[in-house]
């Protein structure tokens, strides 16, 4: 179970992602970013659509999430695709390996310039839920 809510930010777009597990937090954050890029995300067929393997190492889990999203955003811009299919192969505090499946789109709704570290803090709350805010530079 994961939720994504939009929070107020004067110039950019800020979301709050909550999830039961760290895997779901990564899925929710990717979903949140993709929905800024494109409100109507096309259905991904993981057997047919283009995939690439992503591997990211980072000093901590907050950097890991932001760097993971940044790498996918770069691919989205370069290939003009929405990578909405995610299969996590390995996830540790400072390492992720995953397969990402993308589908071509004509255009994006918003120009997401970057995924920022500002306000981001991946943490496990006392209620056992994982959460973080993420600010996207628009």
């Amino acid at each position: 179970m994961k939720t994504i809510t939009h929070e107020s930010h004067t110039a950019d777009v800020q979301i709050l992602v909550k999830a039961d597990t760290m895997e779901e937090l990564f899925e929710g954050a990717l979903d949140g970013m993709n929905r800024i890029l494109k409100a109507d995300i096309p259905e991904v067929n993981i057997t047919k659509n283009e995939k690439f393997e992503i591997e990211v190492g980072a000093p901590d889990q907050t950097c890991l999430l932001i760097d993971f999203l940044s790498d996918i955003l770069t691919e989205s811009h370069e290939k003009r695709r929405i990578y909405s299919g995610l299969k996590i192969l390995d996830l540790k505090t400072s390492y992720i390996k995953a397969c990402i499946y993308g589908i071509p789109v004509e255009s994006f709704d918003d120009d997401v310039k970057a995924v920022t570290y500002h306000m981001a803090k991946v943490e496990k709350r006392p209620d056992g839920k994982w959460q973080t805010s993420i600010v996207f530079d628009i």
């Binding site: 000093p59 950097c63 770069t74 709704d109 918003d110 120009d111 920022t116 500002h118 306000m119």
Partner: protein
């Protein structure tokens, strides 16, 4: 009337200098409405910061640095922070002067705006008319606007009217990543989306006849504003180096109060590599605005033919950049690394870095308003060099979030309302139109009034939009 507010150095542990806010009293409530002052206090904690962390009256919350922020660091061992420049490296504005007046173009204004929309690619991820190979892009990153001139996409006379001549010699493309190259190959000559635009304006009012004469501006004259930056290439350079600095800063014993304020000493390996890559991205942006100028001249000639006369360049300014400059600090001239994030250079009369023909007046400072409101041409002053490291505001500054703007504005009605005011809109996205509605921005008249009263720039001319072209 007060225009300068100061938060003393001891207000928060870790502040190394005071935090200064340039704003008229009636603007303060809006400024306190978001986190921009908290972000300014964080900037005051960066190692090597000199004199004060400052924000201009168009300040609003960013990520790490506030937008509208200025910070000068001790050279060469003070820090450089990519967050203090922003993801859109060398986002900036240029103004083209025409020889025509409104009455000479009014019948063809709609045709002109359609032609500009066709000729200047806009929108998210839109490629340009040129696709560069690796060697060509490498040369763009080294030569900036000169590349456009040498390859038939620019006018050599333009170069003298671009900040830094349209090129930063420190640029080194080998520090620009493969991903940044990939994103840059097809984006030269494109404006992108968001608040970027091409705008046809009428000179509405002249405030300073003498300076306007030097700037060759007169009431009723048609001018064109261009606002864009280094596109995906610049975004990628910033992304790459902010990530590098997350881990590098601990090697220099540095901590920052916000991860987006990641920084390293300017004279460190990572600091030098970032600066060389940033200069390369800045050169891309200047070349981009030169190629867009070539596209605009094509559209202009197509619509007006021989009767259109020339479109020449008044000036081109950067408002997201770091520059090595010399300033008077503590009664002596010191070299500093000036970070301007949403702030414009405003060098005054006699400054050796501005073109000779502006030595008596100070450099032109271009302040675009929001879509549908006034823009301004100002002149830099010696006051800005004394007070704000030769810097000034960069625009109106956002007031409402994009979401709030979309809730309050119906794009179709907005377009009609602007049309009723005589402003043609060519936009690829109704959503983008609502997000950039005038209600989402501060009152640019008050912003400009503040910098005039503070003596960091002086009003020369007010511009009124007639046509806006955006993605």
């Amino acid at each position: 009337m007060p225009y300068l507010w100061e938060i003393p150095m001891g207000t928060r542990p870790g502040m190394l200098v005071p935090a200064q806010i340039y704003a008229l009293e009636e603007m303060i409530d809006a400024i306190l409405n978001d986190n921009s002052i908290e972000q300014l206090i964080h900037v005051s904690m960066l190692p090597g910061i000199m004199k004060a962390a400052m924000v201009m009256p168009d300040v609003h919350q960013g990520y790490g640095f506030p937008i509208g922020g200025i910070a000068a660091m001790r050279w060469p061992d003070g820090v450089i922070s990519p967050g203090g420049i922003g993801y859109d490296i060398n986002c900036g504005v240029r103004l083209l002067r025409s020889q025509l007046h409104e009455k000479q173009i009014s019948a063809q204004l709609e045709e002109l705006s359609v032609e500009l929309y066709k000729e200047v690619p806009s929108g998210i991820g839109k490629g340009g008319q040129l696709t560069l190979d690796r060697e060509q892009l490498t040369q763009v990153l080294k030569k900036g606007a000169l590349w456009a001139v040498e390859n038939g996409y620019g006018d050599r006379k333009d170069l003298q009217n671009i900040e830094s001549g349209g090129v930063l010699d420190f640029a080194d493309p080998q520090y620009v990543s493969e991903h940044a190259f990939q994103r840059g190959f097809a984006q030269l000559g494109t404006i992108g989306a968001g608040n970027h635009f091409v705008e046809v304006d009428r000179v509405e009012e002249i405030y300073d006849e003498e300076t306007a004469r030097v700037f060759q501006l007169q009431k009723g004259q048609i001018v064109i504003l261009i606002h864009t930056g280094s596109r995906g290439l610049g975004h990628q350079v910033a992304t790459d180096y902010i990530r590098i600095m997350q881990t590098a800063m601990s090697r220099y014993g540095l901590k920052s109060p916000d991860r987006e304020l990641a920084c390293v000493p300017f004279d460190s390996k990572e600091g030098q590599e970032y600066y060389k890559a940033m200069c390369a991205a800045a050169n891309f942006a200047w070349c981009n605005r030169e190629v867009i100028t070539w596209e605009i001249r094509k559209a202009w000639n197509k619509v007006f033919g021989e009767n259109g006369g020339k479109l020449d360049l008044l000036y081109d300014v950067a408002h997201n950049i770091a520059k090595i400059e010399e300033h008077h600090i503590d009664s002596k001239i010191q070299k500093v690394i000036v970070h301007r994030k949403g702030a414009t250079r405003a060098f005054g009369p006699g400054n050796k870095e501005i073109p000779a023909h502006f030595l008596q007046t100070g450099q032109p400072v271009l302040i675009p308003g929001s879509m549908g409101t006034n823009s301004y041409v100002l002149a830099g002053t010696r006051g800005s060099e004394d007070l704000t490291f030769g810097s000034c505001c960069h625009g109106a500054g956002r007031r409402l979030s994009r979401t709030a703007a979309k809730k309050q504005v119906e794009a179709v009605q907005l377009k009609k309302k602007l049309q009723d005011q005589g402003i043609h809109i060519q936009s690829g996205s109704f959503r983008g139109l609502a997000e950039e509605a005038p209600i989402a921005y501060k009152d640019v008249d008050l912003v400009v009034e503040t910098v005039q009263q503070a003596g960091i720039a002086k009003k020369v001319a007010k511009l009124r939009p007639l046509a806006v072209i955006k993605g």
